[in-house]
Symmetry: C2
Subunit: 333 residues, 2 copies
DNA sequence: CTGAAAGCGCTAACAT
DNA sequence: ATGTTAGCGCTTTCAG
């Protein structure tokens, strides 16, 4: 194919070491030869082979991002902020969609390993932390978790306090006078944390937690709708529903449409994440916001520090979620 | 760090050539030595260095994806389908967000070049086709365009017929009796194509195109709202608005909320793309659908064929968009 | 069926 | 200030 460092060196009448130095701005090179080399490089449109460079022990300057599904706006926003910050720091990001499939995750772990990425950022459900330990921690690959956490292993992470998020959601609803509250809970660890926080708030009010009011399942608008329908068609339907993410909450709103109910008059709905979706539903969705942008930036910063050996201690950063009140919740009538 | 092919070879009492062969399933190896090598590999958790492999002339098995912004659901869905298909074919994808910034695009083009990706998929605005010609076409990098097209150069692409899409949108609105129609047009080539198609439909009905009813700008909900407000606060507001993507259309709907107007009673709104957003607004958005999933799959197929030298001719695939009628449009009153 | 050896394109001492 | 050279880890003829 194209010309390589040798070709450039020959044509410029210098050694490849010299060319390497001008390309990388290292060592001392006279202005004159630098100029000449640059000229030849320009002329041939020479692009240094970063693979070869990485092979000699330098970084590959690429990060892996393990993420369930880019078509979900929450993950899309996370991915965007990760990519943004990575680019600022000179790293590319390889995206790896997993759909929470543990097998696929494992596969990607070893692939990233083979491609010698400098580090990997993981957003997963973590039912099974064995695969990450085995495939990444053991081979000493720098890793960092985003928006999720595994409390039991020592690992960099930035996430939110899901417990508090759930607690806030409950507090809001309770404050509005709701006591029968339905729960639609995604089937992943962090959502269950939100559920726990929620229950704590109930308990703090001396209220009984009604197990029959919680439904677990995968996140999709469809499921949200289906589950909400189940909840609302009971004889004793809840007056409010807390869904552990916006997608599910939107399904819930759609269920009310189908039943001819009005949100928030007939049912209060609260979501989680504060994706763009929350702003465009009608009514706009009250939700618990995750600082996606910030999480993305921070995790990249941490990971890159770790990669460069500038991180003395592993960090676990826990941000606080924030209730965003819009129009989908109101006082119980 | 970890062990390499040499270490494995030594421990297995074979040559590195043999190890290479068992790893890649090439050449002929006795079942016995294969087993032994595999054992050692397993024992040390050896992961072949794909960078080194790529250096010897093999593919790097990674594709670049140039895309404006993953936080936009349209691009998120495209990215998802690209990644899906790429994975199926054994390729990873490196994502490169550009925000339509030509400089950033150019920067990424050369970066991908340096990283020796096997090919790149581009989704861009293409005001300036010079940068792609110079940075990719010239160095002979396999490329393919998705959802966009540059009619003037020979290049692989799968996109939709934007002209037809615009035409369909207009036809729908005209069929409902609307004649004063506002246009909110994103400031990129393909959106202008949609506008052209739109105008053609007007013309075919013998209607006059009113230049003052079209507003150009960047795509964001905010802008959509702002532009719609401009349109609706005129003395002679339109009875329908066509926005060249769902985001803009949603902004339009929000503008009607602000003005106390009802969609579709007071204003018909039609979007473009058919992202998830269109299904969750209230009312659900009538829109022109792009087959995002299919475009993603097909472009990857084509690009990979090209990479493997199996493509005899460049292909330009044009899919037809499809009107999806929901509740945001109705007969003019 | 297996191994020796010549690269692939670049970096980083170590000379000069 | 510049050049020499020994790798980096792997693939691939070509012999044996």
């Amino acid at each position: 194919m194209g010309i390589n460092i040798f070709g450039i060196a020959k044509e410029a009448n210098v050694s490849i070491a010299t060319v390497s130095k001008v390309v990388n701005n290292t060592g001392r090179i006279s202005e004159k030869t630098r100029k000449k080399v640059l000229e030849i490089i320009e002329k041939h449109n020479y692009t240094p082979n970063l693979l070869a460079s990485a092979l000699t022990g330098k970084l590959s300057y690429t990060l892996g991002l393990i993420i369930p599904n880019l078509a979900n706006p929450f993950f899309g926003e996370i991915a965007k902020s990760v990519e943004d910050r990575a680019r600022e720091l000179g790293f590319s990001v390889m995206i790896c969609s997993t759909d929470y499939d543990a097998e696929r995750e494992a596969w990607y772990f070893t692939l990233l390993q083979k491609k010698r990425v400098d580090g990997v950022i993981i957003l997963s459900g973590f039912e099974d932390q064995h695969t990450i330990t085995r495939n990444l921690v053991k081979p000493n690959m720098p890793i960092a978790l985003i928006a999720r956490d595994i409390p039991t292993i020592s690992i960099n992470s930035v996430s939110i306090d899901d417990f508090v998020g759930g607690y806030e959601a409950a507090k809001h609803l309770l404050g509005l006078g709701h006591t029968r509250i339905g729960l639609i809970v995604e089937n992943i660890r962090c959502a269950k944390e939100r559920l726990r926080g929620f229950n704590q708030a109930l308990e703090d009010q001396g209220l009984q937690f009604d197990e029959s009011l919680v439904i677990l399942g995968d996140a999709s608008v469809q499921n949200g709708k289906k589950f909400a329908l189940q909840l609302l068609e009971r004889n004793d339907p809840p007056t409010a529903i807390f869904a552990t993410n916006d997608i599910l909450a939107i399904g819930t709103i759609q269920a009310t449409h189908e039943l001819g109910l009005k949100v928030p008059q007939d049912l209060s709905v609260i979501g989680f994440d504060n994706t763009i979706l929350a702003t465009i539903t009608d009514p706009p969705l009250t939700t618990v916001a995750q600082p996606m942008e910030q999480m993305g930036r921070q995790i990249v910063d941490i990971l890159v520090q770790e990669i460069k050996g500038e991180l003395t201690h592993k960090q676990r950063i826990v941000l606080l979620p924030e209730l965003v009140v819009r129009k989908s919740t109101r006082e119980r009538e």
